[in-house]
Symmetry: C2
Subunit: 164 residues, 2 copies
């Protein structure tokens, strides 16, 4: 079985798949509200207009997984981006893969800290939410509207994610 060890999540490594949501990754930093607030502006695009879509705010509550973890499916949303921001400051796993002719290529695993969100770019292959340690809530910004926005791909062979 293929084995994969998560590497720490950082914005540069993740860029082919989307954006890391953290202050360091802002397009611009503005002091607003009479100097009492710093706005880390436009960290991630919300790309949901395909097919007449609109953005939604939801909360996902994920059961925790333990490593090693065998995964056998990746999914993608062809009509919109999907952003996750942890609300319980707990780390979680992010598994993504480049697209290769309409199928996921080699998966990559990242360990996100409890202060890092991710926004999957439209059409990015990713594993569904993998919380760690305890039940964890995430704020989710994704697409509402008509149209088929979920594609699942079952891997020919499972991949084992294991701690170092």
């Amino acid at each position: 079985m293929k084995r994969l060890t998560p590497r720490p999540l950082d914005a540069d490594s993740f860029r082919p798949f989307g954006e890391v949501i953290e202050p360091d990754n802002a397009t611009e930093i503005r002091l607003i509200n009479n100097g009492t607030t710093t706005r880390f502006h436009d960290i991630a695009p919300v790309d949901v207009a395909s097919g007449g879509g609109h953005a939604l705010i939801s909360i996902f509550r994920g059961k925790p997984f333990a490593l090693p973890l065998d995964i056998s499916m990746l999914e993608r949303h062809p009509l919109g981006s999907q952003a996750f921001m942890p609300l319980d400051a707990r780390p979680y796993l992010v598994v993504v893969a480049p697209d290769e002719g309409g199928q996921p290529g080699e998966p990559v695993a990242f360990l996100a800290s409890g202060k890092q969100g991710v926004s999957y770019a439209k059409g990015t292959w990713h594993h569904p939410l993998i919380s760690l340690e305890d039940m964890s809530d995430f704020l989710v910004v994704d697409r509402g509207g008509t149209g088929s926005n979920l594609v699942e791909f079952f891997l020919p062979e499972p991949v084992r994610i294991e701690a170092e």
Copy 2:
């Protein structure tokens, strides 16, 4: 000077001003990802399309305020909703007012818990971010795009927000 004591934030009291972002306030609850995730679906609309706008994800970092606090200005965003979700699990103050002929009417103050976000409906009069206790981060979903999306109104007399 007018005095105002915050009341605990709840979805019903806040409805004239927008939505409280918490699981209880979801439009629909769905079990997804093979039963490992609960999706509290469509808690708050992202209403940013006016004038060709689009949604942005940013982080606001707010300096803490202490009570009593005198406020003298309310603002509104005529072209879009603006949602705040606390990322540090700390309480904060929400001050809003109904519109009365293009000006804010009587302000209302709410104490939000560190688990409650708020989405101000498009055009809702509100005070800029009021963090409490310590420097606090919030995920913000609001409008990007051209057009004039900020109106400020200076109150004829300041209002004092005080603890009970």
